[in-house]
Structure formats: C-alpha cells, structure tokens
Amino acid sequence: MTEEWRSGVRGPEVAGKATGSPEVAGKATGSPEVAGKATGSPEVAGEVLKVMAFMLSSAKLLGSEPKSYGPYRLIDAAGRLAQAMERCGLADGVVKALAEEIEKERYYGLEDEAETAAFLDRLLEMAVSQMKRPGAAPEGDKPG
C-alpha cells in the first residue's frame, strides 16, 4: 500500500475527474450547491477509492465464496457508497434514508433469499420514487 493511499489523496487530476464536474455531480444529486461542495475535493476522491477497492476486492473474492455472499456484498457496497456521500456532504434525503435502511440490516446478514428480495424491493422502491420526482434526472438520462 502506498503513501498515496494512506494520505487519502490521489492527486488533483483524479479528484477533479471524479468530482470536479458539475455535470457529473448534478446528475448524481441534482443540486448545483452540492456539486460546488464536491469540486476538486481530495476527501471525495479518497472516499470513492475506498468504495472502489471494496467492490474490486469483492469481485475477486466472490468467485470462490458462497453464492449468497454476492447480493450481500453489493448491498454493503451501496451502503458504503451512501455513507461516503454522507461524509462528503453529498447525500440528499433519499440517499440518507437508503443508508439508514442498509445500516439496520448489514450487521445481521440476510438469511434467506425471500428476505433479501423483500429488503431489496424496499430499497428499490425508495430509489425509484426519488428518481420519478420531476427534475430528478436530466433530459438526457431518460431511458431510450
């Protein structure tokens, strides 16, 4: 592990690519105000890198782990991403609500497929409700 990782800073060019674009931030949050807070932030780049490392490590390990770990790792990744957004001041109401829901379940695991499916349905309903709100997604993002 490099000192670069330890410092949580990946360089301004990486931070800029990840967060510096109002277009990217706007799509994610719909708030120019939030986009401004994110611009050029090394904290955001560090947080994103941690979530990416988690997802990549999971991808490597899941090939030899029980099948049931797959959904759980993806749910955990979504929770980690939401928490990272909260720490960076990028989370809106629904992201915070999703983070809370995931946080409630993540310590206990999801013991059967039906329970996991019901839990995911609840999370997806929260997400889709938010995305259906007028102005939530730019014109170009409408499904074709």
Binding site: M1, R6, L49, A53, F54, S57, L61, D76, Y107, Y108
Partner: protein, 178 residues
C-alpha cells in the same frame, strides 16, 4: 459479532489477545503464527476496503499470519498451517469473549492487498483476520444445530441420550456472534 461501540481497545488488552494466540498448539510445535495488530484508524479504514468480510467498524483487527520459513522443508500441504492459524484464532476469540470484547473471524479479504497494506515480508502470508471491539449492544446469539443431532457415541448414528440435556441447549449467554 459485528456491531461495535466507538470505543478503543487498550494496548495491554491487544497484547493479551496475541499472547493467547501464541499459546495455541501447532503441528510439531513449529509455531508458524505471527500477529499484526491494526488499530491505527487510517490503516483500519484501508484494511476494511480490501477485506469485504469486515462488517461494521471494529476498533482493531488482529491479523493472524503464517511465517512460511517455519514450515517443514518441501512441505506443500497448507492444511496443517491453516489448522495452526485456526487454533490460534480460537484461543484469541475465547480470550476476547472473556474480556467482554466482541470479535469476528474474517476470511474474506484479498491476501495480496493485505500483504502490501501491512508490509508483510515475502515469507509471511495473512491467514485470518479477527475483527475486535466492544459490542454496541446486546449480542444476538446465532442458532446452533442441536447437540443430539451432531453427537454420536462409538459409531455414527448411535445416539448419545444425555446430549439433549446439554447445558447450552439454547446457546451460551453473551457469547457467539451475530
């Protein structure tokens, strides 16, 4: 146990846990286990990124590693050193429980990333991580198969009648994991 309180574990307690691990038996008494305790918050955060099996925010992680230079010459079977690591882990888990600490053994981690993160020498490989911390609340003890279902006497399938009278039929209080 995965829900940890935001409370650090004292250095002497971490040493005590490693001491418990040190006294575990090992094949031919080769003692291949070495321990790396991680309690620096930044290193812990990085470790969590490469160890998806770490759930929650433990106060510390004790990495049980195997020093291959202590393996037998030409030894290629990894099962014996793995047993050594597991026996050391069980000592640590029991000691942690006796100290009021929660713990969770973790095998879901990327070994190469953990090696680099912890600066392990070439001969030393991570075998198991043990997440440690004080429980944030009551611990939910997971169910276990009934003893009468798994205990046999003299030959498989022969019942052991008093197994149904086992003292922990519903699980020991305060132990286990969630």
């Amino acid at each position: 146990m995965r829900r940890y309180a935001a409370r650090s574990v004292a250095e002497e307690d971490l040493v005590r846990l490693a001491e418990a691990g040190r006294w575990a038996p090992s094949g031919s008494n080769r003692q291949p286990c070495v321990f790396v305790v991680v309690d620096d918050p930044r290193t812990l955060e990085a470790l969590e990124a490469f160890a998806p099996g770490i759930i929650g925010r433990p106060a510390a992680v004790l990495a049980i590693c195997l020093d291959r230079s202590r393996f037998g010459r030409g030894e290629s079977d990894e099962s014996l050193p793995a047993m050594d690591a597991a026996m050391s882990a069980q000592n640590i888990l029991l000691e942690a429980c006796s100290m009021g600490l929660g713990s969770c053994p973790v095998l879901s981690f990327d070994p190469g990333s953990v090696e680099r993160l912890l600066g392990l020498p070439a001969d030393v490989k991570p075998a198991l991580l043990i997440a440690l911390g004080y429980p944030a609340g009551p611990v939910r003890v997971p169910r276990r198969r009934p003893l009468a279902e798994i205990l046999h006497r003299n030959s498989f399938g022969q019942a052991f009648p008093s197994a149904s009278l086992a003292p922990f039929a519903d699980g020991p209080q305060g132990g286990g994991s969630e």
